[in-house]
């Protein structure tokens, strides 16, 4: 780790002021990814501003019936929050399927959205990587890329967005609340995550010193019938090979409301809009689910070792939708 200075701040204004004044500084929240990346010289801030004392750790009711997750709320706390479990089960499930209990006790929900990719070339400072060092090429295109993305890729970057909970949040149209030198902003979550395109180093629209203060979950009755399905090599402490967040309402055998997002297969938490279009109003049967999955994956691009992910995702989508429909049908 490069030598750093460290300070701990108690209010949001000071935090933003301190970081925005120094281009080589960074916020430190849970640190569960950031400190790792500093140890391997992928991230090299000179100053860390510890924001763990900021009053952003609560889960609060919003006037419109939604819920606000404080930016510094710990993953484990949010996963156990009764209002989240009852009204947004896919969020609680996604949180509990992420990382390990120890990491969830440290990591914050805002930090979870901000986590960096697991691509081994991104993490190897001696390898070419456009995200870490723009213009040095993407080593993953022809490399060890079993875990890499098949959706939203570019010739510059195929790294998978690693978050689980962000997939659920994208399905729910959550809104990211920020505060920065230029004031407060509300960013729809789908706009918060950027596709790599030609600029994979840009992962979100935040300016330097802008802080994610909270994440708003809109009031959505359909979210109460939702789930998160995650397929991975081992049962715990492992990133998704394919994941599906689904919220669904069924009436008279037809899908009346659908929200669907994919994880583990795309360069950003992937709202499956093409699949949603197929499913909206369609019969809640295997044929619809298969057509929806195929519509979504029509644009998927394989790279060597990760080709299996397209078929795995198709089957996982059908599985998740079928199980959701079955649960809805018998409810």
């Amino acid at each position: 780790m490069r030598p750093i200075s460290y300070s701990r701040v108690a209010d949001v204004g000071t935090a933003i002021g301190t970081v925005s004044a120094d281009p080589e500084s960074a916020f430190l929240a849970g640190g569960t990814t950031q400190v790792d990346l500093m140890r391997i010289y992928v991230e090299q801030p000179r100053r860390l501003v510890d924001i763990n004392d900021l009053p952003l750790t609560r889960v609060e009711e919003l006037p419109d019936g939604g819920l606000r997750l404080g930016g510094l709320a710990r993953m484990s706390d949010v996963a156990e929050e009764p209002a989240v479990v009852r009204r947004y089960p896919m969020v609680a499930e996604a949180l509990l399927m992420g990382a390990s209990p120890q990491l969830r006790n440290m990591a914050t929900v805002a930090g979870n959205l901000m986590q960096r990719v697991r691509c081994s070339y991104f993490r190897d400072v001696a390898a070419g990587c456009n995200k870490r060092a723009p213009g040095t090429g993407c080593s993953a295109l022809d490399g060890i890329n079993r875990g890499h993305a098949v959706l939203g890729t570019s010739e510059c970057c195929i790294a998978t967005h690693p978050s689980d909970v962000a997939v659920a949040l994208v399905a729910l149209d959550a809104v990211v609340q920020t505060e920065g030198p230029a004031g407060r902003r509300s960013i729809p979550i789908d706009d918060f995550f950027l596709l790599p395109g030609q600029t994979p180093e840009r992962e979100h629209p935040l300016t330097h010193g802008e802080l994610v203060t909270g994440i708003d979950l809109p009031p959505l009755p359909v979210a109460a019938t939702s789930r998160y399905v995650k397929i991975r090599d081992r049962e715990s402490y492992e990133f998704a090979l394919a994941a599906v967040a689904v919220a669904m309402s069924v009436a008279g055998g037809r899908i009346t409301e659908i929200r669907l997002a994919l994880g583990g297969v795309a360069t950003k938490p992937w709202r499956a809009r093409a699949a949603e279009r197929v499913l909206d109003g369609a019969p809640a049967d295997t044929d619809s689910f298969t057509r929806a999955a195929e519509a979504e994956l029509a644009s998927a691009v394989p790279h060597g070792m990760n080709a299996f992910k397209i078929e795995l995702t198709r089957r996982t989508m059908v599985r998740a939708l079928a199980e959701m429909a079955q649960r809805e049908g018998t409810a």
Binding site: S120, I144, L241
Partner: protein, 745 residues
Amino acid sequence: MSPAIGGTLNRVDGRFKVRGESRYSAEVPVTNLAHAVIVNAKIASGRITAIDTSEAERAEGVLAVLTHRNLGRVATVPRLLPSLAGLAAPGQTFFPMQDDTIHYGGQPVAVVVADTIERADHAGTLIRIEYETTPATTLLDQARDRAYVPERIFGGLLPGHASRGDVTKALAEAEVCVDATYRFAPNHHNPIEPSASTAVWEDVDRLTVYDSTQGPNAVQFTLAELLGLPPISIRVVSHAVGGSFGSKAMVWHHPAVAALAARHVGRPVRLVLSREQMFTSCGHREEQEQQITLGARADGRITALRHHKLSLTSPFDDWAEPSLQSPSVAYTSPNYEGVYHLVRGNTITPTFTRAPGEATGMFALECAMDELAERIGIDPLELRLRNYSATDPESGKPWSSSGLTECYQRAAELFGWHDRDPRPRSRQDGQWLIGTGMASALYPVTQPVNPQRARARLYNDGTAVVEAGVSEFGTGVFTAMTQVAADALGIPVERVRFVGGSSDLPNVTAAVGSAGTSAVGSAVHLAASQLRDELIRRAVADDHSPLRDADPANVEVRDGKMVLRDRPDVGETYADLMHRTFAPDVEVLGTWNPPPQDAGYGVHTFGAQMAEVAVDADLGVVRVRRMVGVFAPGRVLNRKTAHSQLMGGMLWGLGQALLEATRMDPRLGRWANASLGDYLVPVNADAPDVVVDTVEVHDEVVNPLGMKGVGEIGVVGAAAAIANAVYHATGRRQYELPITLEKLL
């Protein structure tokens, strides 16, 4: 007083470990300590053309930057010899930073010494190195055409090829043949404690190294040769070791680098490998491919076994883990051929990895056996029974002990094997296809070559200290030795303290090859027994003893009291005798001379493994639902620690089967997943219901207590049982490990 041996004594070091009080090699308090960090080559083949250390040298806190230009030369690089031999045991016949050549990715090219580890690490990134890169070979597929058959492997201990009978003729005449090729990803050990060395020069010729090792004496002898010092100049201490699995069985470069760096800066130096460095600094299980050809009669009797292995080794050594040894004697087969083929590549020399060779070799054989059983149409267990060999098929000599058929029988009972419907895809549970599989487990009983020594000392209050130079790396050996000494002395375990972990103590071999507990245990047993006999001898010769003139053979010790066997009211305690005779203590050095490997018997440990898996019919996910392992490891000293060892081994087998793979990027010549986040090992959530049991076998050949070892046999066959279960569940044979879900989509 019931015997301690065979009981379930809690780990004597458990309290210290759970309270965080055990001192690991990177935690020993040393004053004026400096920290060294190694910098590794980022290329796999070539030459350093320029190296600029000036910025690193100017960095805050830096004491020295050492490279091939200024690091001290080693006196000699000893030959590679497995540490079981009890001599110097370098992991490879190469020592880095002696010249500018790069042989493998991750090869040490510099070492930075600073006042803190963070400053040393950071300064390491400031070193500018230019390389001239030459083409590298890091995968088998790049160099199959360059394979050769080595004369000997494994440090020269095993032949590169072996045969009996006429395998070609027998295969041509076989009524049924199975021919299959199995591929194995490289595996790394990943103990939770990375290797660490703290080197303290007390004088120019007096060095103490606190080292994380399976064999303090092996480190002492290796350092003596590397540094050109006599063994008396070097003391190696290993208080606690956080796991090894073979990564600390041989002596790699870091303790000597720490010593050289400490000498250079004139301060004690601590060198801790990072997790990433653990992937390039202490060997691994090599990438390999094995071809098995089984010939059999229509009734399943095996007539021929041909077993070839192709694997990647280093530029320096003819190393292959000995995959062919146990399979060659697993079943009766009059015709046999086993050949190792090696390809030289740009890698560190591979090394022992838990069940080295057996884990892969028995996987290949046991999967082929499953295929043969199906081909012939008999139960896989029945096929094993038909081919059971009551003698060592290689030598024709009887087994010193076996227990294999009892293991099969017990495992089948515990598992419920006999209800099995042999047809693939015959069981389903919702989305899950259910299958069961089995395999035999064999592991050789390896004997140390040299005498094994332990010292036992009884104090006049009736407590005893027993010492030997073995280190405790999580096996429970200190606990088991406490039990062995207590029983031999006839005193409760609470009155015994076992001390190990230093090269100053009586010499035992490195605890490797599942032989650690039996090697040191035999010495401890002899030392403590001889100490007891000495006390009895003194008592019967003492005019004031109630045992005066008794026949020593008629005296036994109960709870520290020497009594007549047939009149337990007559006797006296050790303490009474020693106080009366003004003896503060009595001490004995026990020496066990291991029998030669060829002592008229075949010596192997046997077991049986069974597994049930569930495979998601659509998604290919494999989950192991339950495992049963029954083993015949000879005398079990501590049922609790032995059970833990065997279960841990079985879970290693689960990892080998489904998860563990180090991925080489041949363009970079470096591992692409050198972290515990990316190299997957099973977590608790993956661990199924594991049933472990043992079958008692009495063995008077192997050593005085009849111990055959539990450290590795648990791994052997577990992966094959799982792969065979996956076939039974899905109807799809698996020829490549690990079995990841895309192979079943």
